[in-house]
């Protein structure tokens, strides 16, 4: 169990975190600059919190009030950096064995070999670390972190440094490795698809605060705010019409909504301006603003017939039976 409850002042806002992570993968998703990496650095001991504490498997890593601050080297954490931070002067084999300086040579060799087998790195074990591809670098860094048998694993944007072609494949490989681990793991990412695929749970972070935690389905069913709605692609709107539901927040899916050039008189209807039209195979996703941001899936043929263009003012509506309330 990894338990974090702390605050830390950042230039633009305050990082204010309360998180408990069991032996599972938590995907922490948010825009760059939301405070995600700082959160990892506080857990790892590379940055001090202003107040609060972090504990791992019953041991206090940092507690500002009781003046406990375990140095990073004694925290028993694995940390995967965004650019993997492989030691350029060491081979793959020596990179992986770097953290095992306390054990004797025979044990070290056995554990490095086991890590190499775990991540399928046999072919490149003797290569210089500067000669690897992005995906290989990631797996070597992961092997190096795991070989010390950490009690928790922190991954900072593990896929951001990869090129587009190899990303999808490496994401699945990483998902497989993380699934085989039984320690609390935090994956920080700005990409919701990464979070959805890698995380058992997802925590959405916005300006230093975790605004919602749950499974991908839970987040998509009813996003906590517009930020999470934008991540999951769900519509979140406040009912402005008169009647019993006035002022309530409702959620609905883009494929349940419809678009028209003139008002239809539906109970849930908004006047919006089109800001983006994104092709999605047989349909297009129209993103429009007017109070809330609306995402409406329209059949590609219908969209062409209606002649929707960016800047057009249109009317988005949704049937009552497709609307979710909290």
């Amino acid at each position: 169990m990894l338990d974090c409850r702390f605050r830390k002042r950042l230039p633009e806002f305050e990082l204010d975190v309360g998180l408990g992570i069991r032996a599972q993968t938590l995907a922490l998703v948010g825009r760059s600059g939301a405070g995600k990496s700082t959160l990892l650095n506080v857990i790892a001991g590379l940055t001090k919190p202003d107040s609060g504490s972090v504990s791992l498997a019953g041991a206090t890593l940092v507690d500002v009030e009781s003046r406990i601050d375990t140095p990073p080297e004694n925290r028993k954490l694995g940390y995967l950096f965004q650019h993997y931070a492989l030691f350029p002067h060491l081979s793959v084999h020596d990179n992986i064995g770097y953290g095992l300086f306390r054990v004797d040579a025979a044990t070290r060799a056995a554990r490095v070999d086991r890590a190499i087998a775990f991540l399928g790195l046999e072919r490149i074990a003797r290569v210089r670390s500067t000669e690897l591809s992005g995906g290989e670098r990631q797996r070597v860094a992961l092997a190096r972190a795991l070989v010390t048998e950490p009690k928790a694993l922190l991954l900072d944007e593990p896929l951001a440094a990869l090129d587009v072609e190899s990303r999808a494949r490496i994401r699945l490989e990483l998902r497989d490795v993380l699934g085989r681990l039984a320690i609390p793991t935090i994956v920080v990412t700005h990409d919701y698809d990464d979070a959805r695929l890698l995380g058992d749970r997802i925590a959405a972070m916005h300006r230093g605060r975790i605004v919602q935690t749950g499974s991908a389905d839970e987040l998509a069913r009813f996003p906590a705010d517009e930020f999470v709605a934008a991540l999951t692609g769900t519509n979140l709107a406040t009912v402005s019409a008169d009647g019993v539901d006035s002022g309530r927040t409702i959620a609905f899916d883009p494929w349940s909504a419809t678009l028209s050039l003139v008002p239809t008189g539906a109970r849930f209807e908004w006047r919006v301006e089109i800001v983006d039209i994104r092709p999605l195979g047989a349909s297009v996703r129209v993103v429009a603003r007017g109070g809330a941001t609306m995402r409406v899936d329209v059949g590609a043929r219908d969209a062409r017939r209606a002649g929707y263009a960016i800047g057009d003012v249109v009317f988005a509506s949704v049937q009552e039976h497709a609307v979710r309330t909290k």
Binding site: P72, E73, N74, H83, F87, G99, R144, T148
Partner: protein
Amino acid sequence: MPRFESALGRIALGAIVALALAFLFLPLIAVFIAIPPAKAFADLSSPVAVTALGLSLRTTFEAVGVTILFGTPLAYWLARSRFRGKRLLEAAVQMPIVVPPAVAGVGLLLVFGRRGMLGPTLESLHLGVAFTTAAVVIAQAFVAGPFFVVAARQAFDAIDSDLVAVSRTLGASPLRTFIAVELPLAAGGILAGAALSWARALGEFGATMLFAGNLPGVTQTLPLAIYTALDSGLDVAVAMAALLLFSAFALLLLIRLLDWRMGRDTGAHRREETLDIARLPISQASS
């Protein structure tokens, strides 16, 4: 750069460039071609030259050794610490690079001389240095040290801070991280700095002359021996000058080689932050 379209402009530019290059290279070439190699070798085996060469080697090795011993921690501290007035301190550390050697000699006399600030105390401890071989080492370390500190500091600066952080998360203490990660990665720059400061120490003349004097066998290094030999005849002076020039050239090649190796070793990203030897005040490496 302006374009020289006309023939006259091109000729004028070409003439200026040729003149400048000739001015820079001719004196150096002249040292090598003035006397035949066989004669130069014979001149170098004269007792004055052999003694001066031996003294130069001994003192510069000691000066560079002391510089590395004290300069490496200083360079590391400058690269890693952050405090108010740091830029000012860094400028001060580099002062000996621009200070005229004669001024350095006077300053050293004022501190370590018999009547200097520390002189009487050192004398009473039988550690007086004025006009001894130790004074030569002190003068060389003073004028050459900053070259080392600047280069080593750049080398420590160029290390990706993630490498230091990841070493800590892998269980290594700050000291262990320094030895296993930072020192090996900065080794190229540290060696380049050592070579650079050695070249400067080898050529040291002014400060040594003022502070240590010109005593054959005690403080008369190669540059001072050249100066003295000029009185009795040009040939021995030229032979010793050729030797100094050759060693300076060899050191320059070594520095370039280390610089190239460092650029290769520091890895794929942040390559632009490796030691930039062109930014070092290498032009002042001989006085």
